[in-house]
């Protein structure tokens, strides 16, 4: 299949002890779900590494396991088999408080679907993650973030009063509230118009370039996917480097 290289490893028994500077490291990770009598392999034996500062695009058909993969990396769920290492910590060995602290302080998650808290205004939604981190999110910083996504005038609106795209942008602002090192964005541009889609992409690129934030972006739009410095494709739980992308970058493959 595809040649192994330093940024992408598949079906390899990588040991947890193997020294590496990777920000994210998965080895032999599977996530199985029981659906009736059937076992769904949402993520099937995936091994990968992501370096700090990478901008990784992930595409794949609906149901191929992208959200599941992101949830595994974001410590929102535990793998059925295999191991996950983020920020040099093996997730399975951490307590709930430690994993929670990691999520609060270092990882920002933008969900695929509306994820704002309906009882809170846009501004309060952005401030919300602060109560779970070491320091609260100040009003001023929350406003800056809203401003950055172009919504400072909607600060006092409730999610129900925002359009889908506006909600998505508030979600992005909220994911950044605790100044994470890693941003996991699951189709933040889901059902937005092309223009808004590009706007959000450029915000993400900006974060990646100016703050060296590691970004994993799941998208259905192949055009958007090109803007990563890596492009991964999920196929029925399998993860592989995008063929086109490899070709474009001139990487050899067997």
């Amino acid at each position: 299949m595809i040649a192994q290289n330093d940024i992408f490893l598949k079906n390899t028994d990588m040991q947890e002890s193997s020294a590496s500077s990777a920000l994210i490291e998965l080895w032999g990770v599977s996530k199985h779900y029981q659906q009736g009598t059937e076992i769904v392999k949402a993520v099937d034996d995936v091994s990968m590494q992501v370096q700090a500062g990478d901008f990784v695009s992930i595409t794949g058909r609906s149901g191929s396991g992208k959200t599941t993969l992101l949830s595994l990396i974001g410590c929102l769920t535990a793998p059925s088999t295999g191991g996950v290492r983020v920020f040099d910590q093996t997730i399975q060995s951490l307590s709930d408080s430690e994993v929670s602290a990691l999520r609060a302080e270092r990882i920002g998650f933008v969900f695929q679907f509306a994820s704002l808290i309906p009882t809170l205004t846009a501004l309060d939604n952005v401030r919300l993650p602060g109560i779970f981190a070491d320091s609260l999110v100040g009003n001023k910083y929350a406003l800056e973030l809203l401003d950055w996504v172009g919504l400072s005038d909607k600060r006092n609106n409730y999610p129900a009063e925002l359009s889908g795209g506006q909600q998505a942008r508030v979600s992005l602002a909220r994911a950044l509230a605790n100044k994470p090192d890693l941003l996991l964005a699951d189709e933040p541009t889901g059902n937005l118009d092309v223009e808004t889609e590009w706007e959000i992409l450029s915000l993400l690129r900006d974060l990646n370039l100016s703050q060296n934030m590691t970004v994993l972006l799941v998208t259905h739009n192949p055009e958007l996917a090109k803007y990563g410095n890596r492009h991964l494709v999920m196929h029925s739980g399998d993860l592989s480097e995008s063929y086109e992308w490899l070709q474009e970058k001139g990487v050899e493959h067997a």
Partner: protein
């Protein structure tokens, strides 16, 4: 929101479903309030009894055969009753071994529409010379002056005060003193010196609308105190054995009479409140599993933002605590106000001795019941709170979709 924290988040969530929140709060309020009322009434009876028993002042009360129950009722609730026996009996009792003191009393017919006083009350003649049961309990009395034949002593509920005048059966009396409140029948009794009473009876033919016909040599009861070292039961048996036509009851039998009377009412009351408590427990439990269910996704999102399992647990528990706590406070307040306003009605309607317990005790009961309300909330929401706090964030987010 000014300060964004778990507590405010919980408060906000309760406001989101005002009707549901109010319904739970009310349920807990009713539960706490009725438990409070039942407890305070029960304690009120016990307080009244212990005061009243001391106040009876006598170890034994001797009445004509067959009048034990009405006599006890008269002491407990002030329900007027009349019965008579020969005044020879007092002397015969005084001669028996173990008897230290005796004093007789004469009960007079009901006064329902005396011009002086509101409500039904009870007129009792007593002998100031031999009396040892009433005089010691005067809270106010005319200084230094011995009780004249027309100087009467009023129970606390008569609504007359020292120095007031009052006319019974055409005879003018003066209130010489007011008795300390007991919550028992004594509060609705007016004690008249026997000399004045006999005069009133004699004059009633001429002065009153209704003529009293109580022969001068008849009495209603004899109060007995026993000598130190003598046994109450022995003396009681000796009296009933040696004298014919009399019944004896002891001070402690008054308690038993009340206990019998109370058993039915209190049994039902506590049965009902226990059921109420169980129902609120189930209701709060049910509603909180619903709440947690419908908010699974949201709680999962909080977890994804970095909330620990413990924080989500605390959030759900604070919502339950806030609801049941507020419900409890409201229940206690309303029930407290009702109890204070209607304590006299309670006493009359339930025909029980009733004295409001001390403030300290009331506060103690309130604190205890508030704790019970909070405990109910905690117990009811424990399972849903635990299950959501232990759920994987991804599963919670996904299941709520």
């Amino acid at each position: 929101m000014k300060d964004i924290n778990l507590f405010n988040l919980a408060l906000q969530n309760l406001r989101r479903k005002p009707y549901r929140s109010v319904a739970i709060g009310l349920c807990v309020a009713v539960m706490t309030g009725s438990l409070f009322a039942a407890t305070i009434i029960l304690r009120g009876v016990q307080t009244s009894l212990s005061v009243g028993q001391a106040r009876l002042g006598a170890d034994l009360v001797v009445v004509p055969t067959g009048y034990k129950a009405p006599a006890q009722e008269a002491f407990i609730t002030g329900q007027p009753t009349t019965f008579y026996m020969s005044d020879q009996i007092e002397a015969q009792i005084a001669d028996l071994p173990g008897v230290a003191q005796t004093s007789s009393q004469v009960f007079v017919q009901t006064l329902t529409n005396a011009s002086c006083c509101i409500g039904e009350f009870f007129l009792v003649g007593f002998d100031p010379q031999s009396d040892f049961t009433i005089s010691p309990w005067l809270v106010t009395h005319l200084d230094g002056q011995p009780l004249g034949p027309l100087d009467v002593i009023a129970g606390d509920r008569i609504l007359l005060r020292e120095g007031d005048g009052a006319t019974f059966y055409g005879t003018n009396f003066r209130i010489a003193g007011v008795l300390e409140r007991t919550g028992m029948g004594i509060d609705r009794t007016i004690y008249v010196p026997i000399e004045g009473l006999r005069q009133m009876i004699a004059d009633s033919a001429e002065l009153a609308e209704e003529t009293l016909t109580i022969p001068p040599n008849e009495i209603s009861s004899v109060m007995v105190s026993i000598a130190p070292g003598a046994d109450v039961i022995d003396v009681a048996e000796a009296i009933e054995g040696n004298l014919s036509g009399v019944n004896v009851f002891t001070a402690s039998q008054l308690n038993q009479a009340v206990a019998r009377q109370m058993q039915g009412v209190m049994g039902i009351t506590f049965g009902v409140t226990a059921t109420l408590w169980l129902m609120s427990l189930l209701l709060v439990g049910l509603i909180f599993s619903l709440i947690v269910n419908e908010r699974q996704r949201e709680l999962g999102l909080l977890r994804a933002m970095g909330a620990r399992g413990r924080a989500v647990f605390q959030l759900v528990m604070s919502e339950a605590g806030l609801l049941t706590g507020m419900g409890g406070v409201i229940g206690l307040l309303v029930s407290g106000v009702l109890l204070m306003s209607f304590s006299r009605l309670i006493q009359l309607r339930l025909r029980i001795p009733y004295l409001l317990p001390s403030m300290l005790e009331i506060i103690g009961v309130e604190v205890g019941l508030l704790a019970l309300a909070l405990f109910t909330g905690a117990l009811a929401s424990l399972q849903p709170a635990l299950s959501i706090s232990r759920m994987e964030p991804y599963a919670a987010v996904r299941r709520g979709e």
